[in-house]
């Protein structure tokens, strides 16, 4: 596990470039900082992207076209292109009157989707004639803030998790940039804005914090504020498997293989869940098992230091046992892809970034196998 503490402030969001040598993070303010890996465990800041007037809530870095899209509470989104050694922003008018909350490039990188507090999703695409990004809105039937988005591999379907306790799959088909999509288990007719599926709500359920399609696009996982993880398989008649966890709510979820899902949240620890082909969702293990701390005898010097600092002579460590000292807000794939992930990365409110290696985890945690 490589743990790096970037700052004391929370990391609002992060995004990696294609070869994982650079990371763009928002240090809980109006800016985006890009850090470059300097050999060993060192990171140095190489760029500061200052254009937003409000906190940056979402960053996504397109791997092939090397463009960064950011969105913020100033109701704007910017597409950044690298010209020489400078990142130049292009404003995208989202036509929203509340903060933007999340942004994702589509797999082909010709569109991106922005979820906002205006209870709608803006699908933005580039119009060649006007040299300008235009957006179309998906409004119905979203009734509250859209917290999270994930694209289906076919570049048309989009999953959205929202504060109205529902997770929905929409069609974001834009005839100007998309070819007619082939039929999928989610449906065959996909006009823009069509709700292909809707899950959740009805008396129970909490805000849907994060959604993730599997690499095939047939499975969809989401985590909700009522401490549940849910997975649905469109190829198996849309039956939802929900697991009620005993932990605090999870904030971010991602598929790491067709059958495995990693989620992390307010317990500051990534957790592994397995969804087998029969449709059963089970909890496998926490992935942050701290080594047993050895009971040490406190030296006299430490006793006096504790007495001075904390008015107590006991060695009461107020740190959490997990690596992250505060909630993890985002999980991303570091090495591999959603079908076969070898390393993943977490960032959180403690300002730290940790890279987790499944090879190390499998050897250190008994009985752990990613299937």
């Amino acid at each position: 596990m490589s743990y790096y503490n970037f700052l004391l402030e929370p990391i609002s969001c992060h995004a990696w470039n294609k070869d994982r040598t650079q990371i763009a993070i928002c240090p809980n303010n109006h800016e985006v900082h890009i850090y470059k890996k300097e050999g060993g465990d060192k990171w140095s800041k190489i760029h500061e992207l200052k254009e937003h007037n409000g906190q940056v809530t979402g960053i996504d870095w397109a791997p092939e076209s090397n463009r960064i899209v950011t969105c913020g509470t100033d109701r704007n989104a910017y597409v950044w292109t690298l010209k020489g050694n400078v990142w130049r922003p292009t404003l995208v008018i989202l036509r929203i009157n509340r903060a933007a909350r999340c942004v994702k490039w589509s797999p082909k990188e010709n569109k991106f989707a922005v979820g906002s507090g205006s209870r709608l999703i803006s699908i933005c695409y580039f119009e060649q004639e006007n040299d300008w990004w235009v957006c179309k809105h998906i409004k119905k039937p979203i009734r509250s803030t859209v917290l999270s988005l994930d694209w289906h591999p076919n570049n048309v379907l989009l999953a959205a998790g929202s504060c109205d306790f529902k997770c929905r799959v929409f069609s974001a088909y834009i005839k100007e940039v998309d070819e007619k999509p082939a039929a999928t288990p989610w449906g065959s007719k996909m006009p823009f804005g069509q709700v292909m599926a809707e899950f959740g709500g009805a008396g129970s359920g909490g805000w849907v914090h994060s959604v993730s399609f599997s690499v095939s696009g047939n499975r969809l996982a989401w985590v909700s504020h009522d401490s549940t993880v849910s997975v649905v398989d469109a190829a198996k008649s849309m039956i939802v498997s929900q697991l009620k966890t005993e932990y605090l709510p999870l904030l971010s979820v991602i598929f790491v293989s067709e059958n495995s899902v990693v989620a992390a949240g307010h317990d500051c620890c990534p957790m592994l869940y397995n969804y087998d082909d029969r449709g059963t969702l089970t909890f496998i293990s926490k992935l942050d098992i701290p080594k047993q701390s050895i009971q040490r005898n406190i030296s006299a010097m430490e006793r006096f230091r504790n007495m001075d600092k904390r008015a107590t002579t006991e060695d009461r460590n107020s740190n959490l046992e997990t690596l992250h000292q505060n909630s993890i807000t985002q999980v991303s794939i570091y090495e591999g892809d959603k079908g076969d992930c070898r390393k993943f990365c977490t960032t959180g409110i403690d300002g730290a970034m940790t890279i987790w290696d499944f090879k190390t985890l499998e050897s250190s945690i008994q009985g752990l196998r990613i299937m």
């Binding site: 009805a202 008396g203 129970s204 359920g205 009522d226 009620k244 966890t245 005993e246 932990y247 605090l248």
Partner: protein, 150 residues
């Protein structure tokens, strides 16, 4: 001090009611929810079968109904069953419940905390401790996030 002579009734207007974008929960037909069967539960308590009484009282929770009297009656019945347990038996009783049962029990426990009576809080706290070790903080989060309560 100057006195306000004109009407200030406007200060008490609930502006959220006039918001056309106000979020309203979906209506789910729950008119046929009776709550746990009082007769069955009472007879099981009288027979001394407290475990059976617990299973019976956790059936048919009045979640979807708006009938407050029905909900109060269900809560009272649950409290009666919980109080009739010996302290040592509580843990075993909680172990016999499934995940949904533990969540439902937690909902009733917190409902009971809202209206404490003479000895209820002590009993409920004992049950709370055992339910917490079975359901974890997740079960408490589900009590807090539930849109419809017992």
């Amino acid at each position: 001090m100057s006195k306000n002579v004109s009407s200030d009734r406007f200060r008490k207007v609930d502006v959220d009611e006039y918001d056309e974008n106000k979020f309203v929960d979906e209506e789910e037909g729950g008119e046929n929810q009776q709550g746990p069967d009082e007769g069955e539960v009472d007879s099981l308590i009288r027979q001394g079968n407290v475990m059976g009484a617990l299973q019976a009282v956790l059936k048919n929770p009045p979640m979807n109904t708006k009938n407050q009297a029905l909900k109060d009656r269900a809560e009272g019945l649950v409290l009666k069953v919980l109080s009739s347990f010996k302290s040592g038996d509580i843990e075993k009783a909680v172990q016999s419940l499934d995940k949904n049962g533990v969540d439902l029990l937690m909902k009733y426990i917190y409902k009971g905390f809202e209206q404490p009576t003479e000895n209820s809080s002590a009993v409920l706290l004992q049950w709370h401790e055992k339910a917490l070790s079975a359901g974890g903080v997740g079960s408490i989060v589900r009590v807090l996030t539930a849109r419809k309560t017992v």
